[in-house]
């Protein structure tokens, strides 16, 4: 059986599944339930200075797709709305009772050294395993000069990270906001400031939907709404790309990453860890289904590792990073084309209409005798027209009916920088 134990910047946990700083980690009651369910660690709901913030009523919005609920999720909540002292007492108790689990404390205080100094001292007394700096919250706190207002300015990120390293002996994780154009910049700044790791992503600026009767964004607070933070399955591709950017950047290569964003299954976790993450954090999936999902995540990851022969997390961590490259280095001579398994095809015609209307007119709609005196539909790939775009493969509602089949072209690797068709080609001789 695969060993799921994780060691992230010296913080040990029985598995790589942590709960992200959010409502699931708001208080002792939730966190104890989470640990009982099997979570490896928690990042406590972000603490700030007293007096605590006040939340509004009606806080969450969501993207539903047909009957699928919460494909995306957004919130306009602020950081912890409970007194600091109560949170600290609870953290201390939980860590005392659950020594094998990771307990990280998320922090957000005004951008002044004294504020950070004060709170760090008090957090240290809880014997928590580390701190996470919340530079990500896109709403409510940024207007107060905290959260993403800090995270979007690399100089601030570096400065606050440095203060935290100076004034505490705890590992420092900097949580990054995705609401920037280049995620590598704040990651580089965190590293420069001496942070032990980065975690990402926090939530994305969003308006989930409008209430067309009220003519106002949802969630609607007394007739008005505001932008909130987007998360859940829909944000996973964005998070995965940002993790890849940091993993590939020579300036931050090797910087430990705690991955967050749309993670809900063992497969999501495996993907982020193959992209170099040392562990993963989960919020929306737990808010949707409860803490018990960690059971399927743990068994799924272990079974996959066993099948692949990976004994520990380190055996596959980062394995995909070398295979992420820039577009210009992709092999322009590679060719793949669609193949339809006529036995399994149910004749829905979606591959045809997608390709016909919006792609390369490479799937023919035919009628053939059905053997009962009538005719039946038959969809056939016109190989000469297929560019291997994968559209039909994705549109097909039945798994494994369409496969993309790599072709033997007999041509060598050639990338765009070398391609004679590229007007800006760098000539080998030059």
């Amino acid at each position: 059986m695969a060993d799921l134990r994780a060691n992230f910047v010296g913080i040990k946990s029985p598995n790589p599944f942590w709960l992200a700083s959010a409502p699931p980690t708001d208080k002792e009651y939730n966190v104890v339930r989470a640990f009982k369910a099997g979570w490896g660690g928690v990042v406590w709901k972000t603490l700030g200075e007293d007096p605590p913030v006040v939340n509004v009523s009606s806080r969450y919005g969501a993207m539903h797709l047909g009957p699928d609920r919460m494909v995306g999720f957004n919130n306009i909540e602020l950081i912890s709305d409970r007194p600091l002292e109560i949170n600290l007492q609870e953290i201390k108790r939980v860590k005392r009772d659950w020594k094998d689990r990771a307990v990280i404390v998320s922090l957000m205080v005004p951008c002044e050294e004294q504020s950070w100094k004060n709170i760090l001292k008090r957090v240290e007394e809880t014997e928590a395993d580390g701190i996470e700096l919340n530079f990500g919250c896109p709403h409510g706190m940024s207007e107060r000069g905290m959260g993403s207002a800090v995270g979007q300015v690399p100089e601030y990120v570096e400065m606050v990270a440095r203060w935290c390293k100076q004034h505490s002996r705890m590992p420092v994780i900097v949580k990054l906001t995705p609401n920037v154009t280049d995620i590598r910049k704040p990651a580089q700044a965190a590293k420069k400031g001496g942070a032990d790791a980065v975690s990402l992503i926090n939530t994305i600026n969003s308006i989930c939907s409008l209430d067309l009767d009220l003519m106002a964004p949802t969630p609607t607070v007394d007739g008005k709404g505001t932008h909130g933070g987007y998360c859940g399955p829909a944000v996973k591709p964005i998070a995965l790309n940002m993790v890849a950017e940091i993993a590939r950047d020579p300036a931050t290569h090797g910087l430990p990453i705690s991955a967050i964003g749309g993670i809900g299954t063992w497969r999501d976790a495996a993907e982020f860890m193959a992209m170099s993450a040392g562990n993963v954090q989960v919020c929306t999936a737990a808010m949707h289904y409860g803490f018990r999902i960690v059971e399927e995540m743990a068994s799924g990851l272990a079974n996959w590792m066993d099948q692949k022969g990976y004994a520990t997390l380190e055996d596959f961590r980062g394995k995909a990073v070398p295979n992420v490259t820039d577009w210009q280095y992709l092999n322009i001579n590679f060719k793949t084309i669609a193949a339809i398994d006529q036995e399994k095809c149910i004749q829905c015609g979606l591959c045809h209409i997608a390709c016909e209307d919006t792609s390369h007119q490479a799937i023919a709609a035919k009628r053939v005798p059905d053997g009962k005196g009538g005719s039946k539909r038959r969809y056939e790939v016109i190989e000469a027209e297929c560019v291997g775009c994968n559209l039909c493969y994705h549109a097909c509602p039945v798994p494994d009916v369409i496969t993309m089949v790599p072709q033997q072209t007999g041509k060598p690797y050639l990338n765009w920088t070398q391609d004679p068709r590229n007007p800006h080609r760098r000539k080998a001789a030059e």
Binding site: L350, H352, R377
Partner: protein, 457 residues
Amino acid sequence: MREYTAPDIRAGRLTAAELAANFDDVKPPLDPKRALVESSRCFYCYDAPCIDACPTSIDIPSFIRSIATGDAIGAAETILEANIMGGMCARVCPVEILCEDACVRNHSEDKPVQIGALQRYATDALIAAGGQPFARAASSGKKVAVVGGGPAGLSAAHRLSRLGHEVTVFEAREKLGGLNEYGIAAYKTVHDFAQTEVAFILALGGITVRTGQALGRDITLEALRRDYDAVFLAMGLGGVNALGLEGENMAGVEDAVAYIARLRQAKDKASLQVGRKVVVIGGGNTAIDIAIQSKRLGAEDVTLVYRRGPENMSATHHEQEFAQVNGVRIKHWARPVKLHGHKGAVREIEFEYTQLDGQGRLTGTGETFGILCDTVFKAIGQKLNLALVKDPLNGKASEVLDMAGGKIAINEDFATSLKGIFAGGDCVASGTDLTVQSVADGRDAAMAIDAYLRGEG
């Protein structure tokens, strides 16, 4: 000969509560949540096979996508554009041999999208919201007579009126709707839906209704031809086939269709007389429906006897199964040969086993068996009431309304052999005895009549 006692036929075999449950909606409507889940199962196929399998060619992927995106009214408009009785069809279509049989989901998981249920969801929403989504075109100045106010007649009337013609519907009965009102099994169309739908169709305007007016009794075809620019015959099949047995007029030997009509019109189902032991003869919809409804009225034993095998029955496999679930015993390969009675009331029916001979013809084996019974229902098919059609034409012997197989012959434009007279629905040779086919006929005949009227100038 054995000694028979008086038959046990009486009303009120079940309590009011039992009857209410037995005649409630057999397939309750989808609620919004279920409609969302079911509609999202549709792949929105391109060139969808389900459309081909619907006799009215409803754009099924389009209406289901409207439901999935929260536009049930738009869905209903799509349905009604193709099929003005989309509400009734959603309740009575044997979808297992029509649209749902063709759904591509059958190939991936043996469970089609519930097209009929979704169709009902949408049309119910539109009818509940009230109003009429269609408008009439500018008046053509033409008048069309429609004979028969069933699915074919009303579908034609609605389309003709939309196209700008003035329509008059002549209906022999007191109510419009045809077999929707007098024939369909009660639990398929509860809460007087047939009349709700009739009112919805008439709300378009331009349709004058003359009930209690039978062709051949109160009106003649000649008069209609004189007074109208075109005539559409949609009388359905009023007559019933006879068993051809001695004693067929004995008390207790009933015409299933007539009994169902009484059942459909009964204000209180407890008032209906039901036999304790019932035998049904036939293999179609009517046979299945009378068998199940007898059972649901409280008959103790109901046996349906059909002269061929299960695959030859015109009732679908699904309907046969439903009968069996309702406790109906189905016996195949036997035909009635003799009725036995007691003081003029039937008490036993004797059957002979049947088989196919070397040429594939049905023959008796000579071996017989008897079933004791209080009631025998004849459900061996309906036929055109020829007297109503032929007689009014006798005045002009030079012109003949051509027949084919006992029904009215038409060409591909629904035109009969008589100029200006069109026909469709069950009364024509191509009729399939499906509500949806009659609706399709009515719509397409209206288009043909429109072309005829405008072509004539």
